[in-house]
Subunit: 139 residues, 2 copies
């Protein structure tokens, strides 16, 4: 058993998980990553234009589910969760590939990073940010 | 604070983290993912040839580090961790893109999944398996 400590939270106009796009390229809005002051030194080499992977904790997920209807569409046959990108899974970690549009100071020494398109709802905890190394293979 | 429950472990000829490749495409060997019987139903739609993302917990990482020498090369200037793929970071989750080569029964009803190239060392806990959705963009 391992323990995660979120490094920040998503601030987004998306409030309703049921209305949120399933993937960023399905019309997700820009969002802010509000990152805690305690880890701010780790952000110092991020630049506007960088493509990064944002890892989130999908805190509304059902962790005991081992099969799901893909895309929450009950007309599609159930599949094993490890063949889907469903949030419902034993360790509900979201991976989101985004581009950085702005980096700004936030309240109480937090850092705010605006990204182009994110399908995570408002308040989602952020676990990590990693650079994209190889645009073709990376992830 | 959130809790992760590993779904299995890596079995690999790689034993020494210092000798392990930094990335899979730098000569990482094939490895087995040994997945617990308790989550086996979630694996049922995985097939040989599938490209998947394997998420691991890099349990030897230094979690208090906010800057690192990239690639552990002390001749390279330190960078903020969120601009590197270093294992040393607040939430040391590894993301590995691999291809499934074989799926077999393991001991005590576990399932063994062989993947083509994995830079994680023997014993590394596995957190999740996700399909690659878009080979260009995904991750």
């Amino acid at each position: 058993m391992f323990t995660l400590h979120p490094i920040g939270n998503v601030v987004s106009p998306l409030r309703d998980p049921k209305a949120a796009p399933k993937q960023a390229y399905e019309g997700a809005p820009a969002a802010w990553l509000v990152i805690d002051a305690s880890v701010a030194p780790g952000l110092r080499d991020l630049r506007v234009g960088d493509e990064v992977l944002v890892l989130t904790w999908l805190d509304r997920a059902e962790r005991n589910t081992l099969d799901v209807h893909p895309r929450d569409d009950v007309t599609l046959p159930r599949r094993g969760v490890f063949s889907t990108r469903s949030a419902d899974r034993p360790n509900p970690i979201g991976i989101h590939r985004v581009r950085i549009e702005e980096i700004a100071a936030g309240a109480e020494s937090s850092t705010r990073v605006r990204v182009d398109a994110l399908e995570a709802v408002d308040g989602t905890p952020i676990l990590d940010i990693k650079p994209v190394l190889d645009p073709r293979r990376d992830g």
